[in-house]
Amino acid sequence: MILVWLILIPFLGGLLSWQAERWSEHAPRWIALGTMLFVLVISIFLWLTGDFSLPVDGNSQWLLEWRAPWIPRFGIEIHLALDGLSLILVALTGFLGTLAVLCSWREIVQRVGFFHLNLLFILGGVVGVFLALDLFLFFLFWEMMLVPMYFLIALWGHSGSPGQTRIRAATRFFIYTQASGLLMLVAILALVFVHFSNTGELSFSYDALRGTDVPEPLAFWLMLGFFVAFAVKLPVVPFHGWLPDAHAQAPTAGSVDLAGILLKTAAYGIIRFALPLFPEQSEAFAPVAMTLGLVGIIYGAVLACGQQDIKRLIAYTSISHMGFVLIALYSGSELAIQGAIILMVAHAFSSAGLFILSGQLYERIHSRDMRVMGGLWSRIPVLPGFTLCFVAASLGMPITANFVGEFMILFGTFPGAPVVVVIASVGLVLAAIYSLLLMQRVHYGPEYRTGPLKGPDAREYGMMLTLLALTIAVGLYPQPLLDTTAAVSAPIAELFTGGADLAARAGEVN
């Protein structure tokens, strides 16, 4: 039942803060903050009390499970389940949700209630995505994230660069994700029908569909249907077009959620659905996926260097970082997949930090254009130092979590695909270039305008310090996270090498 509450709390909190605007301007903020903290506390409680060791044979892989019939005629259930990976991502959602509320404290002054309704509905949808096991329910939550995000960008977004309105950015975001979601729906339905014709049972259940024997060319297309849906969200080049605009035009809270959590739903989807449902097809597809990952790493990095809008720059770096994740997921190495999970968490922290910082800059100088920045180090206290820290994290400096994630990915992928790792390593140099370029253009150099600007208040300082402390804590001691997800990553890695292992074992027996 606690799983149901994890999903319901954000939705209920959203409705409540929408109505709370009648009482006072601040009420929605406090309610939203309390709601997200509540989610965070529940997930931390689950984390502390859970047992995440590899399941003994016969035991369930799920830490918690909850199911109830929904539309029995079609075999659709409300089936929620939680394991180490979903728990970590739910906790991350709670944490970044809290930050999203906090960083909008001053930024959002119009329709405060409705803003928080949308914000919390996004987060509720995300939690649902991380918990849903029924494919129909998963699709429902997947789509449910979109609509409030659309409103968030369209109603509270920044005005964009010339010719780029926030409506247009929101529409593009919507069309991209909607169209790709449609592909996934088709793939889900096809899979269900194949399962039906095989067994005579109509079911959307993850467990039932996992073993489905799909005839060959179809199986590949179905895998592709899932992959494209997730690739758009991750995003993978060439499906990345929505991301820079959406990021640049979204309010800070929107950017934080987009980069921190929404992109992670895609990686989660690949781990949870695309790989286990179609292991052989995915293994055959792995070289293509890794190549796309490489293209993302390099292309995202090169484009990041060419941006003048600070938020667009950070957006393109996300594409680059997610390229590493994609490579890891298709590497078939437990070390790399564990690294991908660490990098997902690390990227959530570092990109959230950078987006919040650019939001704070925007509140001070009312621009995201780096050409009108420069020399800010001497004008603003403290913030430049934090920027340097998060920039260092984003370029993968050791002691940050990003380093641990990236290097685990590279160490894990190297034995299987050395060439991929060599090319991906070029991304490490490019990461240094774009990260320091940001530093250079914004904080170093001669002052573009003079006069001191206001330093961070306790709220801003606290957010930055928390993010930084978490980044370093995970960078120096990632083991708690790794232990939590080990039981998830190991079976995923075995999907690829499983056939070979079985053959080897059979050989020994003979």
């Binding site: 050791p398 380093f403 190297f414 270039i433 170093y444 150099g445 001691y477 990632p478």
Partner: protein
């Protein structure tokens, strides 16, 4: 006991960094300096304690398991042996003296807290680099010192050129770091561990000497060493790095960080011995860097750039020693070089501050009477740099390197080393004459304000000057038993001849310099001013044009591709459906114009088209 001392040695600078970083301007300049200098002083005391309680061999302590997934088990673990202690002593000892001098040098500068925060963080990272018992922790320190170097080169950030220099330093060394990282991936895949002691034990068991894997691993590690240690071709960042405050140049870009590559190769000696071809390459690169930088040093006018090229040249000697398998000689020279180069840089700093940030030799001159302490520093440090026989530390270490090259039968490397010694004499004399003798070139040099603080100005210079004499060579413990046998340990034939040659080269350099710069000054200036001489001067002044080459081959194509891709052409292609839809939309909107006449026209047109199609279709018509 020793573990405690070692942990304290890097905790002090870390705590110093944290205090300074979180003070957020609440600490005054004096308090910042006290914290910054004090923490490194305490670190030096802790190191001394560690040295005294070290009982020989390699002692380790594991703080915690960093990551643990399957075979991948890097720890936060420290290993302490003689080499570590020597490096720690240099880092904290020389580091403390430089921090102390910085208290004088940085007086009145804005952002002094930031300066000391970076400096302390640097000492912390550098200590981790030499203490790490596995390559991943070493890599942590390795990247950490790079970041600190970035922060300190760009210390005067308001000048864009300094930011550029910092950027360049970071990116160029990062290229080397990527090679090192790839080396780590390869080593882990092949040997299943990153623990240094285990690697050194396993590699000879699993790898054939001279095998491709061994060569590749050594080559990749070498790539990392070249970047950090500013050797050809990844050296271009070092001269520009002089944009940082002079104590930074002394600590990071002379005494410690740039020697990290030497430490790395010496630490992984077993790996390199399995790759004889790469060993030779190490020596050749060292020799090339040595000569190239020595020539470049001859044609600089900025005193800090002379010293920068001289650093690169001296590290070239260390690489030469590593290349012939004389690891102990390389570390020996690393230590003496740290002493005398720190002394030279700090003396240069004394000159620069006294002359109001003037560092162009053309505008200095005639200072020897007015700045006696700095002049003394230059004389003693310069003598050690030139390896003046018997009285200087530099002589003993450089002599050892040349002897090892000779004993290893590397005549080519030996000749380059001797030639380098002559050139060293030339540029050193030119540097000292240009700075301290002749006519002052500007008002700043005519009325310098000498440093007077005994504690923060005189003391560091005097201590380093003492260490730059034979005393510095004498306190070096000798690490011969830690390393595989060096070529010079098995033979002694020709040692005397070599010593005569080495002394001869140093003195020949000095004599030639004296003759050229004192007797033939006018003639020399004329040559350098026109024709081939001027072209040679330009070539050397720009250090053989590496910057221009990289600019053409790498930087401009990169900038071009960034400009070309800026508008995200893949995204534009993906937008085509939207464009097509819009065109159709426009067309259909025009069709719905509400005029009966045009509707009728289109209808007739369509009907005709259908009839024609029916008539032409197979089986249709008649």
């Amino acid at each position: 006991m020793m573990a405690m001392a070692v942990i304290l040695s890097f905790l002090f600078p870390l705590v110093g960094t944290l205090i300074l970083a979180f003070s957020a301007g609440r600490l005054g300049p004096r308090a910042s300096a006290t914290v910054g200098v004090g923490s490194v002083g305490l670190a030096a005391l802790a190191t001394l304690w560690a040295v005294l309680t070290h009982t020989g061999g390699s002692q380790g302590v594991t703080l915690w398991n960093w990551i643990s997934v399957g075979d991948f088990q890097p720890t936060i673990g420290l290993a302490v042996d003689g080499l570590t202690l020597v490096m720690m002593s240099v880092i904290t000892g020389v580091g403390f003296l430089i921090h102390l001098f910085a208290a004088w040098y940085m007086t009145g500068e804005a952002g002094i807290t930031r300066f000391y925060a970076w400096m302390n963080l640097f000492v912390f990272s550098m200590l981790l680099l030499v203490l790490g018992d596995n390559l991943l922790l070493l890599f942590l320190g390795w990247e950490g010192v790079g970041l600190c170097s970035y922060g300190l080169i760009g210390y005067y950030y308001q000048n864009s050129a300094n930011g550029q220099a910092a950027f360049k330093a970071f990116v160029v060394t990062r290229i080397g770091d990527v090679f090192l990282a790839l080396g780590l991936f390869l080593i882990f895949m092949e040997l299943g561990t990153l623990d240094i002691a285990t690697i050194l034990a396993r590699a000879p068991e699993l790898w054939e000497p001279g095998s491709t894997t061994a060569n590749l691993a050594a080559l990749l590690v070498l790539g990392g060493a070249l970047g950090k240690s500013a050797q050809v071709p990844l050296h271009t960042w070092l001269p520009d790095a002089m944009a940082g405050p002079t104590p930074v140049s002394a600590l990071i870009h002379a005494a410690t960080m740039v020697t990290a590559g030497v430490y790395l190769i010496a630490r992984l000696n077993g790996l390199f011995l399995l790759a004889p071809d790469v060993m030779l390459l190490v020596g050749v690169i060292g020799a090339a860097s040595l000569l190239l930088a020595a020539f470049a040093a001859l044609a600089q006018t900025d005193i800090k750039r002379v010293l920068a090229y001289s650093t690169m040249s001296q590290i070239g000697y260390m690489f030469l020693a590593l290349g012939v398998g004389a690891f102990d000689a390389a570390i020996f020279h690393l230590v003496t070089h740290a002493f005398f180069k720190a002394l030279l840089f700090l003396s240069a700093g004394a000159v620069i501050i006294s002359c109001h940030h003037e560092q162009d030799m053309g505008k200095l001159g005639g200072l020897w009477r007015k700045l006696p302490v700095a002049y003394g520093g230059f004389i003693v440090g310069g003598a050690a740099l030139v390896a003046l026989p018997l009285v200087t530390a530099g002589f003993f270490s450089k002599d050892e390197i040349l002897w090892q090259a000779m004993a290893a039968d590397q005549t080519g490397l030996l000749i380059v080393g001797l030639l380098g010694a002559v050139l060293t004499g030339l540029y050193t004399v030119r540097l000292i004459l240009g700075t301290f003798h002749g006519e002052p070139g500007s008002d700043h040099a005519r009325h310098p304000e000498p440093g007077t603080n005994v504690f923060t100005h005189h003391l560091p210079l005097v201590v380093l000057a003492v260490l730059s004499t034979f005393i510095g060579a004498w306190i070096y413990p000798g690490l011969g038993e830690l390393f595989p046998q060096a070529p010079g340990e098995t033979t002694d034939s020709g040692h005397t001849l070599l010593q005569v040659l080495a002394m001869g080269a140093a003195i020949a350099g000095l004599a030639l310099a004296g003759w050229l710069f004192l007797m033939r000054r006018q003639w020399l200036d004329d040559i350098a001013r026109k024709g081939a001489g001027a072209r040679l001067w330009t070539l050397w002044h720009h250090a053989w044009g590496f910057d221009a080459l990289f600019d053409r081959v790498l930087v401009r194509p990169w900038q071009w591709s960034v400009r070309m891709l800026r508008f995200d052409f893949i995204n534009m292609i993906m937008n085509l459906p939207a464009v097509v839809a819009r065109v159709f939309n426009a067309g259909l909107v025009r069709a719905q114009n509400g005029r009966t006449r045009s509707y009728a026209l289109v209808m007739v047109f369509g009907a005709t088209l259908i009839l024609v199609a029916l008539a032409l279709a197979p089986g249709g018509g008649a």
